[in-house]
């Protein structure tokens, strides 16, 4: 069993809601990424998504765009991202690590070679934001060949037919985009979200994670009946903004502890 499947099995056995934490690799710098991943896990994250920066992040809101731009200015490449995963594994990180990015950098690297190098580095899953299932064939084949889960995104606008196809062919988990929109923290979740998540659950045996707009403990609580995990990204990047370099790890750890219900809002 892969790390992702094992992670969700453990969550189910403990009856716990999974926390998936997102970081853009190289924001604010590569060394910080290497220190922040263990801090997120110490705070209660169960799985970490590492963003591969791309020059044209058209599904991302202002926060991730800014982090992406800063990472690119420091010369972060897909190869850097693979090295970061390799280094994290050397340092003993055992949690599932998923790379998330856009298709062109993977294509430029070479789909087959990327899957091979990612697997060797210790990557468990891959999310490609602008690669709908109809176009995913070559990437899916390469991921399967190297034991990586290609995690699909589904949206409230995804039809039942496509949900059924994606839900039966994918592996790892299903990433449900909570809103029609780009990434970014939001105050309230859309009221029709439970209906959407029910539609997804009826069409897949895989664990369901919800992302886009999630930033508060109340969001996590409200999704407990409908999902196995939440994905939190922009809110973590916002934690880093304005933090002194020596405060960063403590800040993100404390934030995840609040999300995970390990400490109250006021203590953060």
């Amino acid at each position: 069993m892969g790390r992702i499947a094992a992670c969700f099995r453990d969550l189910r056995e403990r009856g716990e809601m999974g926390i998936i934490a997102y970081l853009t690799v190289g924001y604010p710098d590569v060394d910080s990424t290497l220190r922040l991943v263990p801090a997120l896990l110490a705070g209660g994250a169960h799985l970490v998504e590492l963003g591969i920066p791309f020059s044209d992040p058209l599904a991302d809101g202002a926060t991730v765009q800014r982090a992406t731009q800063a990472a690119l200015e420091q010369g972060v490449t897909p190869a850097t991202c693979l090295q970061v995963v390799g280094t994290l594994r050397e340092r003993g990180v055992e949690a599932p690590l998923v790379l998330m990015g856009y298709f062109n950098p993977v294509l430029a690297y070479g789909v087959e070679r990327f899957a091979a190098d990612a697997a060797a580095a210790g990557v468990d899953g891959l999310i490609v934001v602008d690669l709908p299932w109809e176009e995913a064939g070559p990437v899916l084949a390469a991921c399967r060949a190297y034991g990586i889960d290609l995690v699909p995104l589904v949206a409230p606008t995804t039809s039942d037919e496509r949900l059924a196809r994606i839900g039966s062919e994918a592996s790892g988990f299903i990433y449900c985009v909570s809103v029609t929109g780009v990434t970014g923290a939001r105050e309230e979740l859309p009221p029709d979200l439970p209906d959407f998540l029910r539609r997804v659950r009826e069409r897949t045996a895989l664990p369901v994670a919800v992302g886009f707009g999630i930033s508060k403990r109340k969001h996590v609580e409200s999704l407990r009946p409908w999902a196995e995990a939440v994905v939190v990204g922009s809110a973590i990047i916002q934690c880093l903004d304005g933090a002194r370099p020596d405060e960063r790890e403590e800040r993100v750890k404390a934030y995840v502890e609040v999300l995970a219900g390990r400490r109250g809002q006021d203590e953060a």
Binding site: G61, A108, T157
Partner: protein, 401 residues
């Protein structure tokens, strides 16, 4: 409309290996809906009649085919014909596509339109179509382009559109498309994205080509009536490539007609400051399609430069990539200085101020004509008029206006 292309794109939106639909999942349903609605409209006589009436009575079609006698004499070779898209309403070919898609949006029940614009010509055409049809219009435009195309920004606002400056990335057309796509992802249920070039995810490259093919169909008919034969060359500038594919596509099966696309070489292909995706790029995925792309080794999209905002784009429509790979068209690049020469040449010999985009094609065609015998015919798409570029041209020539 014309199916002279053997039915491309295929059902998955591919022209050979190029094209496809590389978009965030949220947009997949809207693209499928758009494709179905477009295919139904294309075969609906009522839709076609409505569009044809608007193109005729409102946009001023057919546009003239003009024999550029003095230009031809100056060059001393082939006869150069200009397809006068600059005389269409709003001053460029963009109106052909804007009217078509705006009518389609109404059919879809979508009353909010978003668009991107580079030079502002597509933004003006979209704002115009929206004013005509009573649709809400939001145009995303790079902050850098707003600076160099100020008259068009004012025109859009007069037409009732909201122009939103885009400050991200290179602050040009590429980033305006990113921002328009972000808006569409967010408001997809109520909004139609009126994409202005033959780029983007399927069905846009096909649909925009079809709406622009009126250029080539008319030119072919007009030239046959006048000369009794087809041109030896058809030449058009290529940014995203909508006027070029509109000119080329009706000649696809006419193998004796050589098709030449003219990209922007900016300050020179060797400087890295250009926008010649086909001449200097390699295939990749940007804005929903697999096509030639200016990118670095890591797959990051490169910044571009051209004196003309409308050509200042790192990608190109997938059908052009297909034409290049199969050899059906040839793609060359013409720089800023040469485009300015083309601009002045046409002004001085014909009394026509071309937009800086087709000034690239004019320069290439004029010098091509020089190498050809007098019986040869070179057809050029004069895709827009130059009023919007006067400030840029004045600055380049060191003149205060």
């Amino acid at each position: 409309m014309s199916r002279a292309d053997g039915g491309l794109p295929d059902a998955s939106g591919r022209f050979g290996p190029f094209g496809g639909r590389y978009v965030p999942e949220t947009l997949m349903a809207a693209l499928q809906e758009l494709e179905e609605a477009y295919l139904a409209a294309r075969d609906d006589p009522a839709f076609r009649a409505e569009l044809e009436a608007l193109l005729r009575d409102y946009a001023g079609r057919p546009t003239p085919l003009y024999f550029a006698r003095r230009l031809s004499e100056r060059m001393g070779g082939a006869r150069v014909y200009l397809k006068r898209e600059d005389l269409a309403h709003t001053g460029a070919h963009k109106i052909n596509n804007a009217l078509g898609q705006a009518l389609l949006a109404k059919r879809l029940g979508k009353r909010r339109i978003v668009a991107e614009t580079g030079a502002g010509q597509h933004g003006v055409a979209t704002a115009t179509a929206c004013a005509l049809l009573g649709l809400e219009c939001i145009v995303y435009m790079g902050a850098e382009d707003i600076r160099r195309q100020a008259p068009n920004v004012f025109r859009m606002r007069l037409l009732g559109a909201e122009v939103r400056p885009v400050e991200s990335g290179t602050r040009t057309l590429k980033d305006a498309i990113n921002e328009a796509l972000r808006d569409w992802v967010t408001n997809v249920r109520t909004t139609h994205y009126l994409l202005g070039s033959a780029v983007g995810p399927h069905p846009y490259p096909m649909m925009v080509r079809d709406f622009q093919s009126v250029i080539g169909r008319e030119a072919k008919e007009q030239l046959l009536a006048r000369e009794g034969r087809l041109p030896d060359y058809a030449v058009a500038c290529v940014g995203g490539g909508s006027n070029a594919i509109g000119l080329f596509h009706p000649f696809y099966e006419d193998r004796q007609v050589q098709l030449v696309g003219v990209e922007a070489a900016g300050r020179g292909l060797g400087t890295g400051q250009h926008a010649a995706s086909l001449a200097a790029g390699r295939p990749g995925v940007l804005h929903g399609a697999y096509s030639y792309l200016l990118q670095d080794e890591q797959g990051q999209v490169l910044g571009t430069h051209s004196i003309s905002a409308g050509l200042d784009y790192p990608g190109v429509g997938p059908e052009h990539s297909f034409y290049k790979e199969t050899g059906r068209a040839r793609y060359v690049a013409v720089g800023d200085e040469e485009a300015l020469e083309g601009f002045r040449l046409l002004a001085e010999t014909e009394g026509i101020l071309p937009a800086l985009e087709p000034a690239h094609a004019i320069h290439y065609a004029a010098h091509l004509a020089k190498t050809l015998p007098p019986e040869a015919i070179v057809l050029v798409c004069l895709s827009g008029r130059g009023d919007k570029d006067l400030a840029v041209v004045a600055q380049a020539l060191g003149v205060q206006v």
